[in-house]
């Protein structure tokens, strides 16, 4: 039902989320793990090995949409975090979603942004809980969540000017 | 001249008694709390921890008094003294025994209320003068609480006055002579609701002196240390002593009005020991209650007064009036 609303690249995502929910095996899922940063798309993972069922990589502009879709499916935002891929020159923002209404189902949504210009739209409008997680990620990585209501120092002292979890961080 | 000597000797006596009590009520409280909580309480400072109050007192006396920067210096310093003065004055009319009373005032009952209500102001001033938000809030709370409970207390006292026709505390006790069913608390012939009004009075006296579970003024989990937040050392000590003093007054007043003061339950050998026995029992009850219940909320407390205690005491007043006229 949501498919029609989605933007073209997202349409695929939507369908697949629903498909996966229904337990169907997605034919387009890629098996192999890449050396290079992987392409956007959907990946069904082995739960027993990885701890989540579905692995989605999206563009930064699709993050909010994906959150909305997952929200309408009744899923919970568990955490938002970043990974600094120094050698790729990218940040990866990882969103963990899980379904708490019944049989557990975990979805990981990732998105990569450029290290130089780490802008990603906020999903705190969709999930209130993302507010703090994003704020923390901003603080520790310097990833800028566009539209976030309160990007202020959170865990660290107000006057500090470093992003400690960046790989090139040195005090 | 004799009178002056009498005044002096009574004062010295009361002062010694008071000093001892203020110190050792703290010990009783801590020890009692300890045993209620499966532990021992003060023990290693002197035998049974009996020197603990002395150590505490000396410590407090040798502790620096810091006046906060933006406090109102004068009021800040005078508030604890005021609280203490009000407490000490109250002892002038407590009849410990038939003849062991510093001074029998004809208006002793109302005088106690008057002075105690003036003491409420000292808390407010202390809280305000500290220049601290917590103190201010807590002071306001404490005062509005003691104010709220003053009314049912007064109404209940009026009931007693109505029965006995006097405000002289010793007279009130005398009117309860004989076996224990003559005590006001059991005086069902004077008003069927008497035991309830005893409860009302007791609860009110507990709330009036800001004791747990009504200790909103010192609600630690909300307002740090309440209106005494900024008071260190002896300022704190004075407030504490005043609290214990008020506790004694509250217990004594309940004893006098309802439990027959120095009367023996069986009409034999009345004397101060009975008074002390009853008073300490009530004090112990207060301590016991403190260590049993969680704290009420402010609204629960104010509503307890306005929704339950005041209506009850009013009804009691009317019932008593009826009983007196009818029977």
């Amino acid at each position: 039902m949501l498919a029609s609303e989605g933007l073209p690249p997202q349409k695929e995502v939507v369908e697949e989320v629903q498909a996966a929910e229904e337990g169907e095996v997605d034919p387009k899922a890629k098996k192999k793990e890449e050396e290079k940063p992987r392409e956007n798309g959907l990946l069904e993972t082995d739960y027993a090995k990885r701890g989540f069922h579905l692995d989605v990589q999206v563009n930064p502009d699709q993050v909010v949409r994906s959150a909305e879709i997952l929200d309408s499916e009744g899923m919970t935002m568990e955490m938002v975090t970043g990974v600094d891929w120094l050698k790729d020159g990218q940040f990866e923002i990882v969103y963990d979603y899980s379904f708490t209404g019944g049989e557990l189902f975990r979805v990981v949504v990732r998105c990569r942004v450029d290290r130089e210009k780490p802008d990603v739209p906020t999903i705190s409008e969709v999930f209130g809980g993302a507010n703090w997680h994003e704020r923390e990620t901003w603080e520790l990585f310097g990833i800028n969540f566009v539209g976030h209501p309160q990007l202020e120092r959170f865990l660290l002292p107000d006057d500090c000017d470093y992003y400690p979890l960046r790989k090139d961080f040195k005090l | 001249m004799d009178e002056l000597i009498r005044i002096l000797s009574y004062f010295v006596g009361i002062a010694a008694f008071l000093g001892l009590n203020l110190a050792y009520l703290g010990w009783v409280e801590r020890k009692g709390a300890g045993h209620i909580q499966r532990r021992i309480g003060p023990k290693d400072v002197g035998p049974y921890g009996l020197l603990q109050p002395l150590a505490d007192g000396l410590k407090l006396m040798s502790k620096q008094l810091v006046v906060p920067d933006n406090a109102d210096r004068l009021l800040y310093m005078s508030a604890p003294v005021l609280a203490m003065v009000a407490t000490v004055i109250l002892f002038v009319t407590i009849p410990w025994g038939e003849n062991l009373v510093p001074r029998e005032f004809d208006y002793g009952l109302i005088m106690i209320f008057a002075v105690a209500s003036a003491a409420g102001l000292s808390i407010l001033l202390g809280g305000w003068a500290s220049g601290n938000k917590y103190s201010l809030i807590a002071g306001t709370r404490a005062v509005s609480q003691s104010v709220a409970f003053e009314i049912p207390m007064l109404i209940t006292a009026i009931t007693i006055v109505m029965i006995t026709g006097t405000m002289n505390l010793n007279e009130i006790i005398r009117s309860q002579s004989g076996m224990f069913w003559n005590w006001n608390v059991f005086a069902l012939d004077k008003s069927i609701l008497m035991p309830i009004s005893f409860l009302v009075f007791f609860v009110c006296s507990m709330a009036e002196i800001n004791r747990a579970p009504f200790d909103l003024g010192e609600a630690e989990s909300e307002l740090v240390a309440g209106y005494i937040t900024e008071y260190g050392g002896m300022g704190f000590g004075l407030f504490m002593m005043a609290e214990y003093g008020n506790m004694m007054i509250g217990a004594s007043l309940t004893t006098i009005l309802f439990l027959g003061g120095w009367q023996c339950p069986f009409g034999l050998f009345p004397g101060p020991h009975w008074f002390l026995l009853k008073m300490y029992f009530l004090i112990w009850t207060i301590v016991w209650i403190r260590w049993t219940y969680p704290r009420t909320t402010l609204w629960g407390l104010l509503n307890l007064s306005w929704k339950y205690l005041i209506p009850f005491s009013l009804v009691n007043l009317l019932v008593t009036a009826l009983f007196i006229k009818v029977f």
Binding site: - | E3, I7, L8, Y10, F11, I14, A15, L60, M61, S62, K63, Q64, L65, P68, D69, N70, V81, L82, A83, M84, V85, V88, I89, R103, F105, G131, N132, K133, Y134, L136, I137, T140, R141, V143, V147, E150, I151, L154, I155, I158, M162, G165, T166, M167, V224, G233, M234, G235, L238, M241, W299, L302, N303, I310, P311, L314, L317, A321, I324, K325
Partner: protein, 132 residues
């Protein structure tokens, strides 16, 4: 003034003095016995206690409308109740049912205040709605 009243007064005065002694005595001792200086690190001994933070805004805040309402009710009630004291003292001395009726009337009118406040929701402490 009669002798008795004077004696009463003397007692009260003596105990007031004594109370002052009780109050100021310890403070005097503190003056002599307490340390004179405070060791401090950043010279913040005097700032108001606010859980280790600096206070935000003025310390003397505007506060307590609810208490104020209760205080108002108390004020009027208190005065009312105090009138009952002399009446209660004289209650036994006046024959007949008249005092009873007087008291019933008085208390009845008095309770109207409580009833009014109750009805008006002064005693209600419900969560408020603030839109953020």
């Amino acid at each position: 003034m009669e002798q008795q009243a004077i004696t009463d007064l003397l007692y009260i005065a003596a105990f007031t003095l004594g109370g002052l002694g009780f109050g100021f005595g310890p403070l005097l001792i503190v003056y002599f016995f307490a340390p004179r200086r405070n060791r401090n690190i950043i010279n913040k001994t005097g700032i108001p206690i606010e859980c280790g933070m600096y206070t935000i805004g003025p310390a003397w805040i505007r506060y307590g409308i609810v208490y104020y309402l209760y205080a108002l009710m108390f004020l009027a009630f208190d005065v009312d109740v105090l009138f009952l004291f002399p009446v209660a003292m004289a209650y036994n001395d006046v024959q007949g049912l008249r005092p009873f009726i007087e008291i019933v009337l008085f208390v009845g009118i008095l309770s109207l205040a409580v009833v009014y406040a109750w009805k008006k929701g002064v005693f209600k402490w419900e969560p408020k709605v603030y839109q953020g």
